[in-house]
């Protein structure tokens, strides 16, 4: 998939995208790559790196939206043993493909960013946990790391300094839950990936019991640019509180699905209708997931919503991992929600009761509804289950996310649910296909 679909030549992450062989060290470096890492290891202190990133206002792009510099500053400075940066490259959120896109096209940006982050927390080793299905990104990263080692940018003396830096890859084996940072750490330690209870937080006791900061691919890929151009320059982009640019993946019922870098604050209408070409002729956007399947849906009438992260929070939803799934008026929301619940049930790690049992209960309820066996009881049940999945009932966010799918689709499209449950018809897709 060397073809770059949908890039608009945004200024930060995709600055150099479109150049031939950007994944090669030679090309990346000629454009100015590794300048950030050089600057950091040869002339900056860890505190200065953190301050620079703090000035940029960069927040985690994996979905949690937590300030990156703050996360790094939680890692104790005086810890005697090893400290780790763990890169969360387990992108598995339905609708999100931007990390894959970044790693395939510019693996060195991630490597450089991870190395800078490792320096910033005073560590020497970064681990990239990449999902097992990502074969091409894995190969690209593997080759890029080898190139960086060969060139001396990584290893015992990066850029001639005595500050060893190393990056290693670890492949996942198929578990959405590994996107949750503590589950990822469990998996990295060779265990069943079940989220850990906190405290202790990973910054204190993370990978192999050592202080660890877990960062997303996009977050770290942004860091070299920030170091090169300065945090203040980055902070000029975006909204007042949510700075910078971010990647979004647009998929589903649009004419030009793709990965796009946007400045935070543009509207969803801009992304869906202008960048992604809008719905197919004669169709209109019925509903969209603004930030991966785990973000509460917004109806087509809210296309003018801003991508401002805090604004989305105020609406009860989130920018999440940037996966925008668009559904037009030819598709049934109930069926879509049922499919997502199947996903959450399948990916539930099984640790907490509500998520393990509740998501499966919801799936069985949806199955009855789609088999035309629904009634008022099923409606009430779904309502009941979604409440039981939220509000701190679960250890991690997976259960909440499953609940939000039910809650938000029922909230905005109760008519479709009622049609299915009470009248056993679907005016959207006509004849029902059993789930």
């Amino acid at each position: 998939m060397a073809e770059q679909r949908g890039t608009v030549g945004g200024p930060v992450l995709t600055e150099w995208f479109g150049r031939a062989n950007l994944h090669k060290l030679e090309v990346y470096e000629k454009l100015g790559g590794y300048e950030g890492l050089r600057k950091v290891v040869t002339g900056m202190s860890a505190a200065q790196v953190i301050d620079e990133v703090k000035a940029s206002g960069l927040r985690g792009r994996g979905g949690a939206d937590f300030p990156t510099a703050t996360k790094w500053s939680f890692v104790p400075k005086d810890h005697p043993g090893p400290k780790y940066i763990v890169v969360n490259a387990d992108e598995s959120e339905p609708g999100s493909a931007k990390d894959r896109y970044l790693m395939e096209n510019s693996p060195h940006a991630l490597i450089e960013g991870a190395a800078i982050a490792t320096f910033a927390i005073g560590g020497h080793q970064a681990w990239i946990y990449i999902r097992g299905e990502y074969d091409l990104p894995y190969e690209k990263l593997r080759d890029a790391i080898a190139e960086a080692h060969a060139k001396g940018h990584l290893g015992d003396h990066p850029f001639g300094t005595d500050y060893p830096l190393d990056i290693r890859l670890y492949r996942g084996h198929g578990a959405y839950i590994c996107g949750e940072e503590t589950a990822l750490l469990e998996s990295l330690e060779g265990k069943r990936a079940q989220p850990r209870s906190r405290p202790p937080f990973p910054a204190i006791k993370g990978a192999w019991g050592q202080p660890t900061a877990v960062n997303n691919v996009e977050t770290l890929s942004t860091v070299p640019w920030i170091i090169r151009h300065g945090g203040a320059e980055y902070a000029k982009r975006g909204t007042e509180k949510a700075k910078g640019t971010r990647m979004v993946t647009v998929s589903g019922d649009v004419q030009k699905p793709g990965n796009y870098e946007i400045e935070i604050g543009v509207t969803y209408r801009h992304i869906i209708e202008e960048l992604a070409g809008g719905p197919f002729p004669g169709r209109k956007v019925k509903v969209f997931w603004p930030g991966g399947s785990s973000a509460k849906v917004l109806p087509g009438s809210m296309l003018d919503t801003s991508t401002d992260l805090d604004g989305l929070k105020a609406l009860g939803t989130m920018g999440g991992s940037g996966g925008i799934i668009v559904m037009d008026d030819s598709h049934c929301v109930v069926k879509g929600a049922a499919r997502l619940l199947r996903f959450y049930a399948h990916e539930s790690c099984g640790k907490c009761t509500p998520c393990r049992v509740g998501s499966n209960w919801a799936v069985r309820t949806y199955e009855r509804i789609l088999a035309n066996e629904g009634s008022q009881i099923e409606l009430a049940l779904l309502d009941r289950v979604q409440q039981g999945l939220q509000g701190g009932r679960c250890l991690c966010g997976l259960g909440d996310a499953a609940g939000w799918v039910i809650q938000s689709t029922m909230n905005h499209f109760r008519n479709e649910y009622e049609e299915h449950c009470l009248h056993h018809t679907c005016s959207v897709e006509g004849a029902l296909i059993h789930a």
Binding site: R5, A97, R100, G174, L188, G190, V250, S251, G252, I325
Partner: protein, 190 residues
């Protein structure tokens, strides 16, 4: 007679040293075992456990958690078909139907008669802009259409007829060995 080759076991024994703690070697080791055997048998998992100085039960627990580890026989070429929302909106159900017909199986996990193919419905593969998508032989095949499915299958059948792969041929007339019934627990969604 061990299930895994001796050189592979040596390779597995060398894995723990690569990680800060030896348990991290479990998944890479299972990966190697699966690469060699196609799927993970109890014997193979036990041998991995012994090589890594772990209890077999621990290895079994890990292997059954992750969907990329196969505990039942699989085809030589495995289609991991994404059926999650983005792909579903763009016709993943059709893709599955077409694929089932093309390789001649009725359900996920079933191996085609010639041993060449099996398929699984998987969750989001992270290539939503190319929906519908399938992962096949460590590669993503994107923007799938019925025609594309047919050619993916036919290309591999063709290769099969030229190269002796050791897999049973559909022209082979010797009776098929009885299929082992799954011992317990099969993975299924929801």
């Amino acid at each position: 007679m061990s299930a895994l080759s001796s050189h592979l076991l040596e390779e597995i024994k060398a894995l723990p040293a690569k990680y800060p703690q030896p348990r991290s070697a479990v998944m890479p080791a299972l990966d190697l075992a699966q690469e060699e055997l196609g799927h993970l048998t109890p014997e193979a998992m036990s041998e991995v456990a012994v090589a890594l100085q772990l209890d077999p039960g621990y290895v079994e627990g890990v292997a059954t958690f992750y969907t990329l580890f196969h505990l039942e026989p699989v085809g030589k070429h495995r289609f991991y078909v994404c059926t999650n929302l983005s792909c579903m909106l763009r016709g993943a159900e059709d893709v599955v139907d077409r694929l089932k017909a093309a390789i001649g199986v009725r359900e996920p996990g079933e191996v085609s008669k010639d041993g060449l193919f099996s398929y699984e419905e998987v969750e989001c593969l992270g290539a939503c802009e190319y929906a519908p998508v399938v992962r096949l032989d460590h590669r993503y095949e994107v923007d799938l259409t019925r025609g594309k499915i047919d050619s993916l299958v036919n290309d591999r059948r063709l290769v099969r007829s030229h190269v002796k792969t050791g897999v049973r041929s559909s022209l082979d007339t010797t009776p098929e060995p009885p299929r082992k019934k799954p011992v317990r627990r099969t993975k299924k969604s929801g």
